[in-house]
């Protein structure tokens, strides 16, 4: 029941689905989507740069007719997987969208616990992957040769699915390096320059607040998305979780987090920055009405914004590198979201499942289709450099005035620190964050107190759940 409820609510993952649905409507019928996918094929042949794909013949699959159940909230996959089915006629892929993010995880945890009902392959975000590793639900894909394809993926994303460098619990699908998205029309109207530092950002915010009489907010703080703040603190060198030998270290109240939260909390309290819960009708109404001039967004963000606002402010948006703390420093970014495709221990065809997960994320056709249909920012190294991913006349680029978003976010991706880990109890910490931020914005706590409370409550819960974890 619960996932059905969630799937009705506009969260970012669902919005991606909504986008795919709308794409279908725009083009007309689902059949023409197939044509679109087909039209991408000759383009790949004509492409100037070499697209480097793994040698799939190294992966031997099980005999006989195989149907793989695949849970994912990426839209348009029904068509994308047809290429795979053509190449491997004995394998059928059954794509099932059981809800995005937590809605899927709660189903998956239950199916894994129940011992049956889990899919062969499931999409899981990096931050939630450890919670499935510790419940012993995922197969180690290294035994099916997954380490072979490590060189084809952006190194830090491989680190997310292979924490110890030996076992492999997923094939990276996408990532969410951060950049600044801004409404150029509002910036032009109020004579704002694109900020390159957080000081400039705060100055712009003050200027905009005065000029608009408080009607237009400079930016947006996501009050119920812990990974957004973590991504920003990540860009400033914050470390939140660390495995040390057989124990964990959790430092949610690290210095970078405190600096980041203090900065944003100040802007929110001054009224320069909105703090409407994200991925809600409320938020998109404000964004579409031109009440919010910019937002720090992950690489999948432009696709979500375009899908949510459809025509409103289409073409007005641009993206710029993430502002930095000081001028002249090399670009540093953090990551928000991004997923991998994992094979469950319940799969009866783990070899075929592994091959499919690799094909989906390393091959050119699915990588191009996922970006253009859904705004999924690839982590296949060849995909990042491929000119076919720069399509100015298609969303998400079209929504951003034809800007080459791939280039901008690729640079952001290179500026993400590779050394970043998550803990198995992140799902708890993710929800607990909302509680502390509410206390912060209702004046019950200072930023430091909120982070300390977040740290303490999560530490207490993790210990009660049997984890060997400490603060510093």
């Amino acid at each position: 029941m619960a996932p059905n409820i969630f799937s009705l609510i506009l969260r970012h993952r669902e919005l991606r689905t909504a986008r795919a649905e709308r794409t279908k409507v725009t083009i007309g019928i689902a059949a023409s989507l197939t044509l679109l996918a087909a039209s991408l094929l000759p383009a790949s042949g004509a492409s100037a740069t070499e697209y480097n794909e793994p040698d799939y013949s190294k992966f031997k699959v099980e005999d006989g007719q195989i149907t793989l159940e695949f849970w994912s909230w990426v839209g348009g996959l029904d068509n994308t997987v047809k290429d795979f089915e053509r190449a491997y006629p004995n394998i059928k892929i059954h794509v099932n969208n059981v809800g995005g993010g937590p809605a899927e995880y709660q189903k998956l945890q239950t199916a894994l616990k129940a011992g049956s009902g889990a899919p062969d392959v499931a999409q899981i975000e990096y931050d939630f992957l450890p919670s499935f590793i510790v419940t012993d639900g995922l197969a180690d894909m290294a035994q099916y040769g997954a380490n072979e394809v490590k060189p084809y993926f952006v190194p830090w994303t491989w680190g997310q699915v292979s924490p110890d460098g030996k076992t492999v619990f997923g094939i990276p699908q996408d990532s969410g390096p951060l950049a600044l998205n801004y409404n150029k029309k509002i910036f032009d109207q109020y004579g704002l320059s694109v900020p390159t530092t957080w000081d400039e950002y705060a100055q712009d915010a003050e200027k905009l607040d005065k000029a608009s009489g408080g009607k237009v907010k400079m930016g947006h703080f996501y009050p119920t998305q812990a990974p957004w703040l973590i991504g920003l603190a990540w860009a400033s060198g914050g470390v939140f979780f660390k495995a040390q030998g057989d124990t964990w270290i959790q430092t949610l109240n690290n210095a970078a987090a405190e600096k980041t939260l203090t900065y944003w909390s100040d802007l929110v309290k001054k009224g320069y920055v909105s703090s409407i819960p994200g991925f809600t009708a409320e938020y998109y109404t404000a964004l579409g009405a031109g009440q919010i001039a910019s937002s720090v967004e992950a690489a999948w963000g432009p696709g979500v914004t375009a899908a949510s606002l459809i025509d409103k402010t289409s073409g007005d948006w641009r993206a710029a590198p993430l502002p930095q703390w000081s001028k002249g420093e090399p670009l540093r970014s953090g990551n928000w979201g991004g997923s991998c495709d994992a094979v469950t221990k319940q799969s009866k065809h783990p070899k075929a499942a592994t091959l499919f997960a690799i094909w989906l994320n390393a091959s050119k056709n699915p990588v191009v289709a996922n970006w253009i249909q859904f705004g999924i920012f690839p982590v296949a190294i060849s995909g990042l450099a491929d000119p076919d991913l720069n399509a100015p006349d298609k969303n998400p680029s079209k929504f951003f005035g034809g800007q080459n978003l791939m280039q901008l976010y690729s640079d952001a991706s290179k500026a993400v620190s590779v050394d970043f880990a998550w803990a198995p109890w992140f799902a708890f910490a993710n929800d607990n964050y909302n509680k502390q931020i509410d206390a912060l914005f209702t004046g019950k706590m200072t930023p430091k107190q909120a982070l300390d409370a977040w740290q303490d409550e999560c530490l207490k819960n993790a210990k009660a759940d049997g984890y060997d974890v400490k603060g510093q």
Partner: protein, 287 residues
Amino acid sequence: MRYRKTALLFLAPFLSVFVAFYLAPVVYAIYLSVFIKKRTGLGPAKEIFGGLANYARAVQDADFLIGLKNMFLFGIVQIPVMLGLAILLALLLDQSRGIFVRICRTVYFMPYGIPTAIGALIWGYMYAPNLSPFNQILRALHQLTIDFLSPDLVLFSIGNIVTWTWTGYNMITLFAALQNIPKDLFEAARVDGATGWELVRYIKIPLVVPTIRLLFIFSVIGTSQLFTEALVLRPLGYVADNITPNLYLYLTAARDANYSYAGALAILLAVLIFALSGAFLRRVGSR
């Protein structure tokens, strides 16, 4: 002996389903609840026997206890409001005749026909601070707006959804009970000179008390199972994990994958409700 066999045969369809979908899960939850997780390093956790460790944790778990407190607060405020409204509407409908009454009856009952999740979603939009029609009216009147989803108010906002859904259901049940009162009682009362209000006070209400009692028990149990509304409102803002005990134990199981602890919480909650309803039934049953 032959009769016993026949009785068992007739009971079998009910008993088999009852055992499979009711007793077995309860037994499984009790079984789960005596295990704790033993973690070694970063690998998968092992489940080991922990005796009553989970129960000991539960009775000291401030979050769970606050959830229980919320549940009681909710019951004390919402149940009387809902049942009071239902009684009032049922009496009014019982008093009148004609097409208008039938329309009203259907309209009041309608919310019950809407799936809880859908109803909560629609209410979620009506509660959104800026989009809310209530707030738009308030703003037009130059009043302050209300954040229905703020932590201080969200329990009452959920109460409003529950009242909206269930008042009609309770009303229909009471209305049916009122319609079943033999008409000769009213005739006799009128002959004795009873007025309209006296008919209500001395005939109608006393004769539907058993129904009200039943509805009260249902409402108490319903309150203890509050879940869907809270879950649906969660993505719209900050709604606490422990806004209701059921949501808290659901998250413990499905989010944190701690089925053993969730099992212990579920058993404790069930025992508590069982004791409360039992005590109530015994009290009013003896009268």
